[in-house]
């Protein structure tokens, strides 16, 4: 975490534009058939297990194999590459952008993600804390657990293969936990957010300020 972060600038940014812009790109090469229009409201996956797909965004066909792609987040289509309708596109081509309205909790998490050291998931898998860390968390809470590079902190579970994940960031306490036992985490998504012990008060100050500013701001979004 850097002392150089301009918190006022971050707050101002969220205040003026409390949205996250999620680009949706072609996962692989293929011919694209768009299924939404600019301005359309799209829904995220739903159901107890998120088993109901979000709004169908487009289909991409390669070698007669059509793959539907659905929204992973709710929001409004703020950009659509309409000129690519029916065209053959390369993997990674930006096809649309979803403007996702942020809730207070998401804004706090967003700001924290800018100031914490994030430790990403090495693979798409399910994760749980190593037994030693878990028992210490249960006794004292995550925010009292100091971790250092090389510590075995998390177990990655994939196809009945359990692999220890060794922490490789800066020393600090586990401030935020972004995974739940039994729920898959995408590769590269943060597992935990870590900050040094001496900076814990600063983090708390950020959260207090966001909550206060949010109330002053008077947004209709709730947490």
């Amino acid at each position: 975490m850097s002392e150089q972060i301009d918190f006022d600038e971050i707050f101002a940014r969220y205040r003026s534009d409390p949205y996250e812009y999620v680009d949706v790109r072609a996962a692989h090469t293929g011919r694209v058939a768009l299924r939404v229009q600019e301005g359309d409201v799209v829904a995220a996956p739903s159901g107890e297990w998120d088993q109901i797909p979000g709004t169908r965004l487009f289909e991409i066909t390669r070698e007669r194999n059509t793959k539907p792609v659905s929204a992973k987040t709710n929001g409004t289509v703020s950009f659509l590459a309409g000129e690519l309708e029916g065209q053959f596109v390369e993997a990674g081509t930006r096809l649309l952008t979803i403007r996702h309205p942020l809730k207070k909790k998401e804004i706090i998490e967003g700001i924290l993600k800018e100031v914490l050291d994030l430790f990403p998931a090495p693979e798409r898998a399910k994760y749980f804390f190593a037994l030693d860390i878990q028992s210490r968390i249960e006794k004292k809470g995550a925010r009292s657990i100091v971790i250092r590079p090389g510590d075995e902190i998390i177990i990655m579970s994939l196809m009945k293969r359990d692999t220890p994940v060794y922490y490789s960031g800066k020393p600090g306490v586990i401030y935020s936990v972004y995974f739940e036992p039994g729920v898959s985490v995408a590769q590269g998504a943060p597992l935990i957010g870590v900050c040094s012990e001496e900076k814990l008060p600063l983090i708390q100050k950020i959260i207090t300020k966001v909550k206060a500013d949010w109330d002053k701001f008077g947004s209709s979004e709730s947490d």
């Binding site: 109901i52 196809m159 293969r161």
Partner: protein, 308 residues
């Protein structure tokens, strides 16, 4: 020091492989079969046999550490066997009963696999065991995703793969733990209705070293098959198209009874069952596709199922 009873040597294993594994299988040519045997040939390059251990996985870690401290690397394919395990455990906090009479051990493999092969590696254990059991005439033996081996609903064998990073070199290893009930016939009360051994099924005791060699020979074949498939993937995948070679999954399908079954799914299904569904597919990377009662499908990359 007590002499180990389940003593298998690399020479015994080689003889087993040459004796019965060298016939072409799965429609492969003799040349391809030879490549597969060569690719899996490191399995059992060294075999350590103990009368009793705490956990075979722990012994494997110690073996890797001791090799490092001696300025060398542990041999890939080393197998650790024990007549019984005093501190064995299953996944999570479950008990694993490992008395004299079973095949208990661990295989050490260096982590040199690409992503898909890494995903499929745990399947090879169940495949090897199921093949070995069917060879004994128990044709109804089947693999339950991911790699449990069941006979008529009772668990005969269980497997677990753990990763390990060597402390000095930072090399990553796979530790493939195996537990197969063979001549052991008594189980703790909580397992007596759900576990079974080969001798119970056949009504006689079996030659444990010979059976262990048979299991390891089939494991060598299936790991060779996995590496062969990886080679084929690399040869035919110039871009981001899907995998073309499905030898491992095709074989797994032929040994498993999970596809089409109604299951209870959970990450830790015994303590925290999540949902009921019907298994409709297994993806090229081994993930299970299940259809819920509302008609929607979920894909799971880890966790476990129970038939219902």
């Amino acid at each position: 020091m007590t002499v180990a009873q389940n003593t298998v040597t690399p020479a015994m294993l080689r003889a087993r492989i040459v004796g019965s594994e060298q016939t072409p299988r799965l429609g492969l040519s003799a040349a391809d079969s030879e490549i597969i045997l060569r690719l899996g040939g490191h399995v059992g390059s060294e075999i350590e046999c103990y009368s009793v251990l705490g956990r075979a996985m722990e012994q494997a870690r110690a073996h890797i550490r001791m090799a490092e401290q001696a300025g060398r690397t542990a041999a890939g394919g080393t197998v650790i066997l024990a007549d019984c395990l005093a501190g064995s455990k299953g996944r999570f906090t479950r008990n694993w009963h490992a008395p004299i009479g079973g095949i208990w051990g661990c295989l050490l493999l260096p982590d040199g696999l690409l992503d898909r092969a890494r995903m499929l590696l745990p399947l090879t254990l169940g495949m090897a065991c199921c093949e070995m059991v069917r060879e004994q005439g128990i044709s109804q033996a089947a693999v339950r995703w991911v790699n449990d081996v069941l006979v008529d609903g009772r668990k005969l064998a269980g497997f677990l793969v753990e990763g390990y990073r060597a402390p000095l070199s930072g090399e990553n290893w796979f530790l493939l733990g195996f537990g197969i009930n063979v001549n052991n016939t008594t189980f703790p009360a909580e397992l007596s209705a759900s576990a079974v051994s080969l001798s119970q099924l056949l009504g006689r005791s079996l030659d444990l070293p010979a059976l262990t060699a048979s299991f390891l020979a089939r494991l060598a074949w299936n790991i060779g098959l996995l590496l062969y498939q990886e080679q084929q993937d690399l040869m035919v995948l110039p871009d981001d198209s899907g995998p073309a070679c499905h030898l491992v999954l095709d074989r797994w399908r032929s040994l498993s009874d999970t596809l089409g079954r109604r299951v209870l799914y959970g990450y830790n299904v015994e303590q925290q069952p999540q949902y009921r569904a019907r298994v409709v597919d297994i993806r090229p990377d081994g993930a299970l596709v299940m259809r819920l009662d509302d008609g929607h499908c979920l894909t799971e990359y880890s966790g476990e199922v129970r038939y219902c």
